[in-house]
Amino acid sequence: MARELMKGNEAVAEAAVRAGLAAYFGYPITPQTESLEYLSRRMPELGRAFVQAESEVAAINMVYGAACTGHRVMTSSSGPGISLMQEGLSFIAGTELPMVLIDVQRGGPGLGNIAPSQADYNQIVKGGGHGDYHPIVLAPASVQESVDLTVLAFDLAEKYRSIVVVLSDGSIGQMMEPCELPPMQPLKTSFPDWAVSGAKGRERRFLTSINLNPAMQEEMNLRLMYRWQEVEANEVRYKEYYMDDAKFAVVGFGSTGRVALSAVRAARAEGIPVGLIRPITVSPFPSKILEELSKRVEGMLVLEMNAGQMLEDVLIATHGQVPVEFYGRMGGVCVLPEEALREIKRLVKGPLTTTGHPRDRWLNRIAKKN
């Protein structure tokens, strides 16, 4: 199929349509609004459901209702809107329903701004709603990857009866790039045996997240956790670049991972033996890969557009076996390739340590500079 030049948010929307999206519910918020606008034209054209909801609270609950029917459903939003959706997301997790959420992150906290950020890592990856649950979280670094991961998101959501989040950011959502769209899949015509549809010729079904019996609720909790172990065993995805002979490793996800790749290439051109690990699934996190890596590299550098949220997962995975350094930009400021290269050189130069916290060293460097 031919490649088309598309804006990230529109490409994701069309990818969802082609993945068999039956119903979309959303609310305008920059920098994801183009998905909503695109689908407001595209879904009715195909005779599929589209509603611009009165709020993100309503949008996620419309998704909840439609997800109860087993159809492919999705919403998209950004920071403040995602915060409003946490109640609904927890209920959806508690009802074990498949759904896809596109989070185009922006600067925060609060109203923040509309520039790219990765500061919602903890909120999304750690499951910002109440109760014990894990969403599957996919982090694209390009428009093409956003398209591919959106299609994958629907498949994983159904396979594990799970929330799947495509954790993007304002730069990927707003940027135009050539991409190849997937083939058009037909809408589903058969639905799982838990889905409601009207009890025609069968026992009635009901879907709820309430369970007043703590022992039975615990059984449900355990079921979710065992299912999560399956996800951890089967669905970890990451990309590695220049790692074969690398003595140092950079770890970055999403658009920061992409910036890091430019810096790694520049470092390689200067003969620095550095490689890159870019987690595609930030949940489940590629912990085993990083643990293995921690035994063979001399140091790691974590790059993020936040104050070191994924950093904590890297530290848990490597548990002090390797020195880790951190560099981040916040508030909607992107890490630039030359900054990343500078940090790689700092890492290589040392001194390296496994004591203290990389975040403190990073903050101290900034404080000293000012």
């Binding site: 909801a53 009165e54 419309m62 209702g65 029917t69």
Partner: protein, 257 residues
Amino acid sequence: MTINELDSMVYTRPDSLTEVSTHYCPGCTHGTAHRLIAEVIDEMGLKDRTIGVASVGCSVFAYNYFDTDFVQAPHGRAPAMATGVKRVYPDRMVFTYQGDGDLASIGMAEIVHAAARGENITVFFLNNTNYGMTGGQMAPTTLPGQVTTSSPNGRDVETQGYPIRTAEMLAKLDGASYVVRRSLHDPKNIRLAKKAIRTAIEVQMRGLGFSLVELLSICPTNWGKTPAEALQWLEEKMVTYYPIGDYKVHPAVAEMK
């Protein structure tokens, strides 16, 4: 009517209700409302095309009592969830069953916008002037001066505001097709309530848009009254503040009859 026919006319449980005892308190009108809705679903032959949406409050377990497909919404979000179900299955009968704390307080945005969109769903709104499940706190519908566990000196409108007349308010919206208030305090009103429930569901099945029946209800346990006293209080106090009536009947609905 022959003797044989009379012999077969017994008071039976509607097919659309499951054969279990409810968790509702003795004398509570939730049972009455459930039965009326189930009877109408039976009479209209909709049992296998119905998807109900339960809310948060005493009726959170409504799905245990209706023998139809059901989902259960977060607090106040039933109209949004019903929207999601209905947009995917436009030919099913989708209804929400909500109390006054759920619908008129935390869920006010969802109900207003579902009505404004003319969402083709039916809402049964049980108004018993308090939060029943959490033990009788003040609701947006609590009457001025009414004592509840969170208005121990009686609702003071100066500091706690005025009750909301939901049916009247939603009737102002162009998207609402059928909005009425009925009461469950005596047999005559119960029969009128059933008629309104039937009309509301007919409105939906004919694709005429948003329908809502507010049902004035009692909460003997939290009101600290016997069921008989509670019914009397409803008739004397609630009907005065919340008049029974048709607040919106779209011309297309009026023609329907």
